[in-house]
Amino acid sequence: MVLPFLGGGRDKPGPLDYTRRWWMRGVMALALVFLYAPIAILVTYSFNDSRRTIVWRGFTTDWYVAAWNNDRLFEAFTNSLLIALAATVLATVIGTMLAIALWRFRFPGKAAVEGGVALPIVIPEICMGVAMLVFFARIGWPTDLPWPFNLSAITIAHTAFCFPFVTLVVRARMVGFDRSLEEAAKDLGAGEWQTFRDVILPYLKPGIIAGALLAFTLSLDDFVITFFTSGPETVTFPVLVYSMVRFSVTPEVNAASTVLIVITALVTVLAMTLQRPQKLADGG
């Protein structure tokens, strides 16, 4: 990766121009190589015309076709996307509503609710995964439901760990809201719902979208919690990759991984672009 500013100017760097010191640039460049090389290699070799993945034998898109035609892989991929979509909708709705409630009201036990909502974010993933396993086993949640209802347990678990992130993001956006706007709307005769729809919601929109995209990537990425929640017959993409990695590494998995990387990268860049105008508007 070549970054133009790494080329640098000819004049001597000032005392605080740390970025223009060669060793700082070296650290930065090494870090980027460290972070990107494995992913770049994976993507490159998804186009390699060879089953043995180390030697380059020419460009091909065969593995993408193979991945597309691999029923199990396709099913797992569809499941992952479906779960992510459903969990995102649920988490965004309930997470946003809670954020508004926390912003607007004082009530007894508020600190406990705030702490409780932070809990899914801080506890180790495996503890949550184990809790979901025990919970669904104990209440006897049916594991043999027809598709897509066999994804319900995973969706419920994903919603549980995604909505606190939505609440966090939306609430951060809410802090900058000027309540006199709301009062003005009410003085001018708008009801509770109309004020919400025409004043609060448009203001919150970037926060809600950012929260939703965050929830989507978190759900799509999740392995540990899904691993414990999914029944023997239900596979998501990460769970399938996990079972495949333990036996052999095939270029189809590289191809499917590349597709997933592209999807998440697009979603992330979209989320960041959506958040930036907000920061400018806040003067940050």
């Binding site: 605080l16 870090a31 972070l35 494995p38 004082r106 909502v117 590494v249 997933l260």
Partner: protein, 318 residues
């Protein structure tokens, strides 16, 4: 977190219906699908296994007793050590990265920041899987060294020197995978963005005139770094350490895929109890031990942050 609007909050009694509509769905989800499941695990940790699937809740502490038994205690210590090493490496590597981004030209900052964060959004499993391809004995690092070895081997042969006594008859690949080093490498790979972000945020808030003053008054770069920059960035360092240490400690996937027998962490023990070993009460106890350690670290952090805040207030007042 700052609550600017703290004085202007409505009482929930002013509009009970709206309050209920807004807060109850999320609270229901939190209680039913998070707190109650955790409660199940907690109760389970005081149970005893009676048969293959029968578990009696007898109120025993035997599971916890077993968990702090020598074997499992040493795994816990190993986990703490691996997580600590990961955090330290992330801090040492992350600090110059955060500095470089912070002092980069304004238009480059968001790009560099995005470049550091983006891998974090790539699926954890895919990244770990990509590392296997890099580290394994027919992987890219060994392939690179093998190519060098081959060149030297051929070079010596061309010079008429027998290379076999010096280099051996074939290339011996390095054991880079399935050991503790691989686990730490994988954890650093996954958690570096966690460390860089809070460090960057702290450095961004830092008033550069302090650094200029320090340099003007004759302190060198290193002295300025350790006497001015690091203390001022301490809240960010603390956040970065916590945010790296906690997930590294509770990790399961990285040691599972990259580790060997010497590098099992507490997460693997928990997984093993719930899957193949099928001893849920013991797994539940281990799981809660891990949570207690996590909460202990968070409490320590709150304590330190509180003391730091008080000290800086004291300085401002005095």
């Amino acid at each position: 977190m700052i609550h600017k609007t703290g004085t202007r909050l409505d009482s929930w009694k002013s509009n009970k219906i709206l309050f209920a509509i807004l807060s109850l769905p999320a609270l229901f989800w939190l209680v039913v699908f998070f707190l109650i499941p955790l409660g199940f695990v907690w109760v389970l940790s005081f149970g005893e296994k009676q048969g293959i699937i029968d578990i009696d809740i007898t109120g025993t502490f035997a599971n916890y007793g077993r968990a702090i038994d020598s074997l499992y205690l040493s795994i816990l210590w190993d986990s703490l050590g691996i997580a600590a090493a990961t955090t330290l490496i992330c801090l040492v590597v992350g600090f110059p990265i955060a500095m470089a981004i912070n002092f980069a030209p304004a238009r480059w900052k968001p790009v560099l920041l995005l470049l550091i964060i983006l891998p974090f959004w790539t699926n954890l499993l895919i990244r770990t899987y990509a590392l296997i391809a890099v580290l394994r004995s027919q992987g890219y690092i060994n392939g690179f060294f093998e190519a060098i070895w081959q060149t030297v081997f051929d070079g010596l042969a061309a010079l008429g020197i027998d290379p076999v006594p010096i280099l051996g008859p074939w290339f011996e690949p390095f054991d880079l995978l399935y050991n503790q080093g691989a686990v730490i490498y994988g954890l650093v790979y996954v958690h570096l963005p966690f460390m860089v972000l809070p460090l960057y945020a702290a450095l961004e808030r830092l008033d550069r005139s302090y650094l200029e003053a320090s340099l003007d008054l004759g302190a060198g770069q290193w002295r300025t770094l350790f006497a001015v920059t690091v203390p001022l960035a301490m809240p960010g360092i603390l956040s970065g350490v916590i945010i790296t240490f906690i997930p590294a400690l509770g990790t399961f996937l990285t040691p599972n895929l990259l580790g060997g027998p010497d590098s099992q962490m507490i997460g693997n023990v928990i997984e093993n109890q719930f899957k193949s070993a099928n001893d849920w009460p013991f797994g539940a106890a281990m799981s809660f031990l891990l949570m207690y350690v996590t909460f202990g670290v968070l409490a320590l952090r709150a304590l330190l942050a509180d003391r730091g805040a008080r000290r800086s207030h004291g300085e401002a007042a005095g």
